[in-house]
Amino acid sequence: MKEKLQEIFSHHHGTRDALIPVLQDIQGEFGYLSPDAMDAAARFCRMSPVEVYGVATFYAQFKFDPVGRNIIMVCQGTACHVMGGARILEEVASQLQVEPGQTTTDGRFTLETVACIGACALAPAMFVNKDTHGRMKPEKVAEILNGTGN
């Protein structure tokens, strides 16, 4: 981990304004922010670790537990809501038996919600890793989940 963090740090200038990009890179590499990684980021950006924790927990993007191999994001934007996005979220949650923010016990899926991805014309929309699934219907959920890699 140390080497990978050093590699990430080498792309940034070690000041406070680099913190969020540094954390984003760390999460990009490890999938989440471990206490050790946050501590290292604090030293690099010359802040106290608790400030890093305060910043990281402020932003919805950051995760503090390892994530699943596949990320399911269900859009909760206005258009999606009006078009029945809540029902899609319910369906995914019940099929995976997790709450938003949680990871399935087998580590295959992490379920998340997103405030709006700007694909309002496709509402309701959900995302599996980088793939967009627009005009979702509850009955399409199972097929999409089954078609996703282990």
């Binding site: 304004d17 990009p21 402020f58 993007q61 009006v82 405030a115 014309a121 929309a125 627009g134």
Partner: protein, 601 residues
Amino acid sequence: MEPAIRIQPGKDRQVLVCRGTGCESQKAKVIFDNLEKELEKAGLSGSVETKYTGCHGFCQQGPTIMVMPAGTFYCNVTPDDVAEIVQTDLKGGQPVERLLFLDPKTKDRVLTFRDMRYFNPQRRIVLRNCGFINPEDIEDYIAVGGYDGAKKALSMTQQQVIDNMKASGLRGRGGAGFPTGMKWEFANRSVADQKYIICNADEGDPGAFMDRAVLEGDPHSVLEGLIIGGYAIGATKSYIYVRAEYPMAYERAIIAIDQAKKKGYLGKNIFGSSHDFEIKVKLGAGAFVCGEETALIASIEGKRGMPMPRPPFPAVKGVFGKPTNINNVETLANIPVVMTKGGEWFASVGTEKSKGTKVFALAGKITYSGLVEVPMGTPLREIIEEVGGGILNKRKFKAAQTGGPSGGCIPAAHFDVPMDYENLTQLGAIMGSGGLIVTDETTCMVDMAKFFLTFTQKESCGKCVPCRLGTKKMLEILTDVTKGKATLEDLDQLVALAEDVKNGSLCGLGQTAPNPVLSTVRYFRDEYEAHILKKECPARVCVRLIKFQVNPDKCKKCGQCASACPVEAITWKKKEAALIDSEKCIKCRSCILACRYNSID
């Protein structure tokens, strides 16, 4: 409305493949690859150019492709359709009829986008290049007059640039509508060794995506806007703050900056002038409040995105304590046009106090959702009925929600309202960033208010008490209303609290968070009262108040409900009213949405 696009030398036609998010998610890339293969096969590679573009705007009928210069517009294209397009159109010179847009009113196929009812009433200034140029190629942008505005600005004095901007009457498109020229003037007047100009691309309204489309489809116009603004206020450093949910916008901005640097449009002595200018891209991290200027500044500085009371204003003390000017994407995309065509020209578009155009993200219960750009003052009815093709499934228009979580709704009684800042404010809705969510009779306005409050409550930074706890209490009351557990006293308390949150909160988020509640109570008090007094949800959205029983008096015995039910809880025989088995019913509302006659209670 279309720019004079560049075609490679020696080629006579160009196929533009939309790679906006909507089309991209429906195999636009495969379509593009197939296209190149088929052209090769047909021996047309030499004469036909293929090009990726940003969003064409007609997301509802995606994936879409256009053949230029003819303007032939194909909808709902699948990868398998490509061969036919190549053979019939590009080689044979005949359009592929079945893929042309079918006008629902005339039932005619429409050949070019120029003749389509969706595009026709639009007036594209912001989206002038979106869908026509390759956003990853600076030469495309230059070919349509790109960076002429920046060059012109640099030949003028700072004050002349500001005066031109003031003459244009352009107002900030981020929501508040503050005159951009004045904003620049403030920042220009601040004296400091370093100033900043920031592009706010943290499009937070969950229902708006024009900033995304511009950054993805025409990033150089934003860069050019920043260069002009930076010069006007005396800033040499700039940030584009993009939300993390827009990875493609982020990448395109980076590519655009690299290309502009190589051209000498960014860096030291840009365009050969004595002005230096650099742009960095910062990725947001998922916080709506960072659309607020002081929170955005905190976020750039690597802090919790909590707003600071103003004064001091960012124009005096902004990022890293230096004078800072912040404009949003749509505002910036207007600026090159204001420069090249002049402030007076720009001011000729729109209404007396609201100049230029506005891009709306049309979504919800509308036939054609997508991005539409119309002159300020265009009546709501025209946007919905002409451009948007009317309400989905021919249901009844109930209200349009504008301004997202900070906004309010325009009820049917005001369907003809001209859409500009003043009119919307007067109705208790706001222009906001341009989210325009259309609702119909199956939308519950209490649920809508609750949806927005859930959002703002979750996105509140927590710094000030009215927003942190006031919205929480408001949400608790709204939740009670949707469960039929509230009283009329609770409703009074909700309104009173909403006023205090509005007046007492620190920043725009809290000050506007009560708007969806106040607006829906204002226009749809009867719906609230139905929930409270009759324990009914008239739109049949609030599940706790729905009986899930077929009303035999209203039932037209069509059976749509039964076929929509995912758990086979509905039995139906021809010529008989349907029957719902409450044991099996999972209260998913599929039947309610399927029933055109509102006959399920």
